[in-house]
């Protein structure tokens, strides 16, 4: 049993935190207001190796463990949860290729991502299907050496700038889970229609759009793991991506917490800093406990993954607990700041808006509880 980071992990954390504090935090407010992607910041993050952490070393990546990628994600989300979403979305899109792709597909799709900064988009959710992923309507039909894709996808992160779309569809809606198929579509393929940018509550700099796939034809060589093999790839992807999203919740919560501690020592009411009031102390203590517990769940879920052990249940613990805690912590941070907290001039208002999304995407907090209960009852 060892809770220590390795010396390399400490350095990775230092670099990622330095980048978050020097490059991301000073611009977080500006890009939130402009609702624009900070392409220069994202490209700089990529050049330092902070993007695409899931790519194995043999395909040009840094060969990070899952725990390493959690450390990086937490730090980047500390800097700005919205920018981190744009960065993390690359991993969400590339993980199905890492997990279900052939050697040829990995060379063709992953390696170019390590040579130049490119964005990738993960296309699962549809206008009518979010939590019920098995019920997706987008069709993938065989046609000679190709497959033809038809359907609508919704809330797709990085949609407007992606070079690569990793899409889940079905060969036959009647097959439900058994028809799910994952396919890689390259930018510029005929029939991709990118929708307008969504006007969101938080994560405003990240580029979120609907996409229509209208008779989009790609070679069968782009199908990951074969037709009808998509569901197991999707489930394995979630085992990695859910802890990662949970790590981003820890980063956002830690940032809200650090702001709160600093402010509580500065703000004077009743002739003493509010940090000396017990009501504030209780809130700060609750925040600290929840952050530490969330982080430990994230690291354990990732550690299980690195050791080849089943982690589905822990991944859902981490995702639900960290996301719900982040929302509570960000809300309390606004409370500690009082009227100033409700103003956009102070940083905690943005964190509260950003936190809400973490309870929704990559499986809502409610879905995580269903997954957990299913795991418990299926084994008892």
């Amino acid at each position: 049993m060892d809770f220590n980071f390795t010396p390399e992990q400490l350095e990775i954390k230092d670099l990622a935190m330095k980048f978050a504090k020097n490059e991301m935090m000073p611009k977080a407010h500006e890009y939130d207001v402009k609702a624009e992607l900070p392409h220069d910041i994202l490209e700089k993050a990529w050049s330092l190796g902070l993007v695409n952490t899931c790519i194995p070393a043999e395909y040009g990546g840094n060969g990070f463990s899952a725990v390493d990628s959690m450390i990086i994600t937490e730090a980047l989300a500390y800097g700005c949860m919205g920018m981190n979403t744009a960065i993390m979305a690359n991993d969400l899109a590339l993980l199905p290729i890492v997990i279900g792709g052939s050697d040829e597909q990995k060379k063709r799709f992953l390696t170019p991502m390590t040579e130049k900064y490119k964005m990738a988009a993960f296309c699962l959710t549809e206008p009518g299907n979010g939590s019920d992923a098995g019920g997706i309507k987008t069709t993938i039909k065989e046609d000679g050496d190709d497959v033809v894709i038809n359907g609508n996808k919704m809330w797709i992160t990085n949609a407007g700038y992606a070079d690569l779309f990793v899409l889940y569809g079905t060969t036959d809606t009647a097959l439900k889970h058994k028809g799910i198929t994952a396919v890689v579509i390259e930018k510029g393929t005929k029939g991709i229609e990118i929708g307008k940018k969504e006007d969101k509550m938080g994560h405003r700099c990240s580029d979120t759009r609907g996409i229509t796939f209208n008779n989009v034809r790609v070679p069968k060589a782009n199908v990951l793991g074969g037709l009808n093999k998509g569901w197991s790839i999707a489930m394995k992807t979630l085992d990695h991506s859910r802890p990662m999203v949970a790590a981003s919740a820890v980063g956002g919560a830690q940032c809200a917490f650090d702001h709160s501690v600093k402010y509580a020592k500065e703000r004077v009411q009743f002739n003493v800093p509010i940090a000396q009031h017990q009501m504030i102390q209780a809130m700060i203590a609750d925040m600290a406990m929840k952050i530490e517990a969330s982080r430990l769940l994230v690291h354990k879920a990732a550690w299980l993954l690195d050791n080849g052990l089943p982690n589905t249940q822990l991944a859902s613990y981490a995702k639900a607990f960290a996301a719900d805690s982040c929302m509570q912590i960000a809300t309390d941070a606004v409370q500690i700041y009082g009227g100033y907290g409700y103003s956009k001039e102070y940083p905690v208002e943005k964190i509260m808006r950003d936190a809400k999304l973490i309870q929704i995407y990559e499986g809502t907090s409610q879905i995580q509880r269903l997954v957990i209960a299913k795991e418990i009852f299926s084994r008892s």
Partner: protein, 262 residues
């Protein structure tokens, strides 16, 4: 060129400093150590010089405790080729540190063409190691350098002096250049750089190996204390036009008698 960089490890600027119980130093058990920020400019300048002079090597040297080799690893992750650590207490005085640095540079077996340092360390703010080292090595030194250009043998450096004016020096190498903010923008140690740095050689020497003994100590710290807390500022109410004359008189009076600045 044989390029050397001397770096120091200092407490993170956000650290809450606590003097040790015996007053000989500060409590170091819970400190997060970072590379002295001015030394980052020196490392960056070394890497820029290396890039401009093919076949050059960058060697980083540090004197301090081994608990944590953060600064040396960071420098190698940024791109330096190898590192020397002289193991010593962190509360050594400037003379001993300069002598240990000289010893380590000599132990490397390479004759330095240039030695870069930060202009000062942000922990003890002594501002004297580069100059003492230059005297010991009998080579020129320029400090507070904000501009650098030149060849492998002759350089022109700009030095910031009081009032924001700039002095320009032509210097024959070898020399010691102490860097200030503005000379360059230090790069980040990239993640691939961090991974590569693990395989780069880090040689550890004792103070004796570097030719330093307790007899070299010129300054001994005995009573570290926190500075006294600043008294709160005074507020004057001059919003009312009728009161203004009185307030001005009062402020001028206090500046004379209390603050003694006029």
């Amino acid at each position: 060129m044989n390029i050397f960089v001397c770096v120091k490890q200092v407490p993170d600027t956000e650290t809450k400093i606590v003097p040790s119980a015996d007053g000989s130093f500060i409590e170091t058990s819970s400190i997060k150590w970072i590379m002295n920020p001015y030394d980052e400019f020196a490392v960056e300048q070394a890497l820029l010089i290396q890039a401009a002079n093919a076949g050059s090597t960058v060697t980083v040297v540090r004197v301090g405790s081994t608990k944590d080799t953060e600064a040396l690893r960071t420098a190698m992750a940024m791109g330096a080729d190898d590192a020397f650590l002289v193991e010593a207490n962190d509360n050594l005085d400037s003379y001993s540190i300069a002598k240990a640095l000289k010893g380590a540079i000599e132990k490397s077996g390479k004759k330095p063409d240039i030695i870069l340092t930060g202009k000062q360390a942000i922990d003890d703010d002594c501002l004297q190691v580069p100059q003492i080292l230059a005297t010991m090595m009998e080579i020129p030194s320029v400090s507070v350098v904000v501009g650098y250009e030149g060849s492998a043998t002759d350089i022109t450096v700009k030095r910031e002096i009081e009032g924001g004016a700039i002095e320009v020096y032509g210097v024959k190498l070898p020399a010691i250049i102490a860097c200030n903010k503005g000379i360059n923008t230090p790069r980040y140690a990239s993640l691939p750089g961090i991974m590569k740095a693990k395989k780069k050689p880090l040689t550890t020497l004792s103070l004796a190996d570097a030719g330093v003994s307790e007899a070299d100590r010129r300054v001994k710290y005995s009573n570290f204390q926190l500075p006294p807390e600043k008294p709160p500022g005074k507020k004057f109410d001059a919003t009312d036009a009728a009161k203004m004359g009185g307030v001005v008189k009062e402020v001028v009076g206090l500046l004379r008698t209390e603050a003694k600045v006029i």
